[in-house]
Amino acid sequence: MSNNSPKRWQITRRGLLIGLGGAGVLALGWAVGLPKMRLAISDAVEGTEKPFSRGAPKVSPTVWFTINPDSKIILNVQKIEMGQGILTALAQIAAEELDITWERIHVRMANTGSGVDDANGTGNSESVVSHYLPLRQAAATLVVMLKTAAASQLGVATGSLTSTDATITSNDGRSLTFGEIVAAHSGEWVVPEDAPTLKPNSAFRYIGKSQPRVDLPAKVTGNIKYGHDMRLPNMLWGVVARPVKFGATIASVNPKNAGSLPGVHTVVIEKDFVAVAAETKSQAQTALNTMDIVWTEPATPITQQAIENAVTVIPNQGVIIQHEGEPETLLADNSRIITLAYRTPMAVHAHLEPQAAIVDVQPDKVDAWVSTQVPAGMASGIADAIGRKADEVTVHPVFLGGGFGRRLDASLGAEAARLSAAAKRPVMIQWSRAEEFRNGFVRPPTHHVMQGSVDSDGHISVLSHHQASGDVLLTIFPPIVGDILGWDIGAVRGAKLYYTAKGGKQTIAQRVKLPIATSFWRGLGLLADGFAIEGFIDELAKTVNADPLAFRLKNLPDTPFGNRMKGVLQAVADLAKWGTPLPAGRAYGIACSADAGTCVAQIAEVSVSDGTINVHHVYAAVDAGLVINPDGVKAQTEGGIMMGVSSTLIEEFVVVDGEAGAVNFDKYPLLRNSQAPDISVVIVGGGDEPGGMGEPPIGPVAGAIANAVFALTGQRLTSLPLRLA
């Protein structure tokens, strides 16, 4: 190794590897199936304003940072950049505590096995939330360790040293750069006993500032590599036989002459896996098309109607996940109870980069480049698929062309690994758009029965939300987990009622196992739950002729959380000038929601022309606590709103004849530029803790639009996508 090679810190203290925060929350009590325990788990998981965090990352300056001789500092993170700006936000946090110039910090996605351990993957709006303090502590610890080494090298006391932009200076005027200190150091590094003091917020120069995204220059010149763009020398192209009908399995295969066709290298025929690897993609596809594959279709045909029937609220079914006061009594007795039922459809992620994987199975190791939000889980999945140990597999992170929850399952890498193991060469598998529609998973459909009443003084007296949904989170656990728990934490994201109901309130989760794969989709249940709750609150306001904003402000609790919600409602009202007359044919609707420690309120301005709903402008107020990058918060707000508008106005995935009703965007269009509203965002709040931003802004969108349509037309629309009568 040359002297110019960057030096890595050596791990010297076990104490540094102790994770911070409360890990293992999800595991608590799962062996106990009593309803009361379920409610307790629900509170434990969702009772705080934080997402169900699965523990903070390990704090280790020796793993997270690499210092080059020129004092360029590399921050290694196992978070995946999929457009949310996470690399920039984490670089800001690190540069802040290291107290270095912006140009000096370089952030990169770390390989699995490199010591940067983050089994959680990237999602759940928790990357900044989970990294904020650990990363600052790691950076501050690194500075202390460098000071200690510098004191030794200069022969002075540590207290005489100051650190400024990667240079440590003694009060006698001598100085050493970080790079020089590392180059001159030998032996073990001295790690401080105590966690170092962190910079006061008042001294921040990067946190809270809109630093430009570090990944954008390469994204406007075509020079960034996504999973689909990766190529290896000697690489084969793989294709996999996949069913057209939902639930179909392979009955028999006659490969015919597929193996001897031009370019074909390997044909794999196993019970559950038929695939071809060839020199070009079209040669592989031609060979697969040549084969006679007979599929066994499910005994009971899967129909759209059967799915909707299954996802229907049934009284007295489900698990009570929120219960205050005596809602049952009031719901039974009160003749003024209003009931509305809401329905949301299945939807696809429509990440524009189809997923792709290259896996190179070698005798002593496995290298994989995979479009994934969960590199560590992918490494395990690949290892399991080919009977190797997880630590033999290195997943090299790649940029993602959209994530949205789609890139969480390991089957993508597992298939490429099986084919590579058979071919003994690297194999690339790229999904087609049709495969993405047919063979991925979808957002689960939901049905909601909302019930409630309002006293004559304008206070909500009782409120009930009974939700039926296909699975989200349970799909990644063994079946027994769902059977014991009885409800799906992901499906009920955003389902709990945050308004005060004087006589009582309840939320009931009714889990529905569906015959087609449903799972994560940006915000999980948040969009659907926000649509149902905020639409219904609007209806309650109408019964007492209350202004929708005033009604919300009146019925939110006088708690820190309630005050934050009121804060974003008031802020968005000010931004949109709620209450001032709009041009003829325009109307406003308002909605709010909370998720991942972040409160969001939105006002949508709509019109109707030729039976079509137009969304002209969406105003948003966001309280994400401590904001790292204000423009990043705005960008995530805009993105969540646009995805929500698309779901609200357009998107609906249906089953037709037992198969996907759409295999491309001709029959499943997305929001287009001419349909996309202008967006204005104001950031409010503050404090010492950041909230999540990837998902919360999608919560209020559908409700705000539907409420605006009601204000304009008097039609209370309760199904997505919204269709006027």
Binding site: M82, G83, K219, G222, K225, L352, E353, N664, A676
Partner: protein, 157 residues
Amino acid sequence: MELIINQKTYPIPDNGDSRPLLLVLRDELNLTGTKIGCGAGICGACTVHVDGVPTRSCQTPVNSVLGKEIRTIEGLADADGTLHPVQQAFIDLQVPQCGWCMSGQIMTAAALIDGNATPTPDQIITAMDKNYCRCGTYHRIRQAIAHAATLKKEATS
């Protein structure tokens, strides 16, 4: 057979077929800046310029563009690295999120302002209406193209 891409000549095998230009760019020439989204000409991720005209490369048979000037995102900036005004504007307004659709968005926008120095808001929307962005950067795209027109005007005045 030869293709002229970004003013360079690339020999490609004559397979006697009409395979899409997009596959030749990405899989044969390793010019992966041009992206695939739908393979059906709907999403616009694969947009390149053919003789200056924004063109869906996934729907363009490679043998229909022999001898024509093809420009991809890799060739949009000047040889000295100076970004096209649209590229600069997309950075200035921090437009891209995931970035996958951006090559197509930028090539479509570049053709617009190269042919129309002062596009109106309606002209911008019309030109950009067939390019999907799933991350939802649409209104930043509109603002950035207006900004790019200003940058271009400043650069030429």
